[in-house]
């Protein structure tokens, strides 16, 4: 059950990341092409930068699910299982607390930002771009919860 859900969730995040990566590559290429032919798109670099932030946070949630974030697991591997389990729980609690806080504060900030607009596209609210923070944080929390059983199993193993 859980494994099937995890696989589906992974598929979903993978497709989001593929679409965003492709969109980013196309957007930058189109921007260069337009400038080359003399029609500079004013919004091109601002939108591309936002695209990078989107790839970052959806990619980060996927990286959490694939356990690919940059860290130092060496010390924990050297500890005896008795010490490892409580420390692994503490580490997971810290990660979850950080992203729960980020999702909540990120959501409340959206209301404040609703009336700010992008510099190059005055008709688009900053809140749309910034929505990636609470969404990405929630996806990260879900991913972290899904890998939690695996992390604890490894911590318990000799």
């Amino acid at each position: 059950m859980l494994a099937a859900f995890r696989r589906r969730y992974e598929r979903l995040l993978e497709w989001i990341v593929i679409v965003l990566m492709a969109a980013l590559a196309v957007e930058v290429t189109v921007g260069v092409a337009f400038r080359y032919f003399g029609y500079s798109l004013v919004w091109y670099d601002e939108v591309a930068s936002i695209g990078l932030a989107w790839v970052t946070y959806y990619g980060a949630a996927l990286a959490a699910l694939k356990r690919a974030h940059i860290g130092v697991p060496e010390l924990m591997r050297m500890l005896p299982p008795g010490a490892r389990l409580p420390l692994a729980l503490l580490a997971e609690a810290c990660v979850l607390a950080f992203f729960v806080l980020l999702a909540w504060v990120g959501y409340t900030v959206l209301e404040v930002l609703a009336y700010d607009t992008l510099v190059s596209l005055p008709e688009v609210s900053v809140a749309y771009a910034q929505s990636v923070i609470p969404l990405g944080a929630l996806l990260f929390v879900l991913a972290e919860l899904l890998v939690l059983p695996e992390v604890l199993r490894e911590a318990r193993a000799a």
Binding site: V17, V28, S49, T56, A68, G71, A91
Partner: protein, 427 residues
Amino acid sequence: MTGFLVFVCVVALVLINVPIAVALGIAAVVAMLVTQGAAFLPNVPITLFQGATSFPLIAIPLFILAGAIMNTSGISRRLIEFTAALLGSMRGALAQVNVVTSMFFAEISGSAVADVAATGSILIPAMKKRGYPAAFSAAVTSSSASLAIIIPPSIPMILYAVMAGTSVVQMFVAGIVPGLMAGFGMMGLCYWYAVRYNWPVEEAFQLRRLRRSFKDAAWALTMPLIILGGIFGGVVTATEGAALAVVAALFIGMVIYRELDWKHLREAIIEGGVQTGAVMLLVAASALLGLYLTEAQLPQRLAQQITQLTSNPWFVLALLNVFFLFVGMFLHSAAAIILVVPIVMPVVSAVGIDPVHFGVIVTLNLAIGQQTPPVASVLMITCSIAKENVWTVTRANVPFIVVLLAVLLLVTYVPATTLSLVNLFYR
């Protein structure tokens, strides 16, 4: 005092295997809550968002993507065939082919990991079959792959330029001479081994074979010209050059060679997105910690204390080299740049070291760091491709690391190796 506590907090969290990016975020939030109270909280999501929106850094996912497309479209294989036809008559030919292919590849890809995937899976089995020691085959693949981050384009150089506030293009130009020196040094080392152990030549030089493989690889060989020519000529920025690299690789893979493998490409894009997420989350989190560091003036105070001890740039460079070599052993190269560069930059500028020169020094240190366990990203991947023990390969790798160290020393104390081209074209 809070500065010290923040440092302890980050280290403690990292040691219990909290991802480094998250550890930075937690430490920054706690420090700011203590010094400024809850009114600071709304700055957290805003800074984390803005920290991830950077036009120059878009080059990172794009160069990863370009490298992935090359690996799945037959471009890498043709590059290897061409260098084999070029160097096949040399003693120890396959070792030379390994280094030279890595040097070609380094001009298109900015990531040593992509380079290992391209050369290692073809050349390590081939070398073993021809009787080269397995550990040596893995070592030459691993070390020459690190040329990818010294020879432009280079993802660590892009990260450094953004973190240090200097020019990506100038960093790229500054990397050319040190990259070639390291490459030729490795070729020399391979030749010495080949003569000593009488390693095999592959085949007599045939102009016909060379011409055929050149024709076959011609499209692949034009890619560095398009990408680097566009960037150095000032026609496109580094980010746009990366987008061109993606388009060119797709065009060659789909229209010219017609070998593009969609299943592998899909996996490669996902892998690229995951790597981007991991590195950029670290960049964004360091922006958050940067808020606190700037507030507390920590890097400036550190700079003051060090310059009180000594203001001799040679001595400071020696210290920084030792420090970066140490950091490179224990940290992933992207993490090392993101964590350390913002803190040491005030020292670097206080003693009058050129930021571009320093950037190449940092890159070389991290290229060595990719080869030195316990944390050695490129070495680990090579060992898993070669199915060899990490420590056996490391022993065989020592002479190659010495080549890189020699280049590092030369670059550190002869700034002209990096700066003469930059001065010639850009200053």
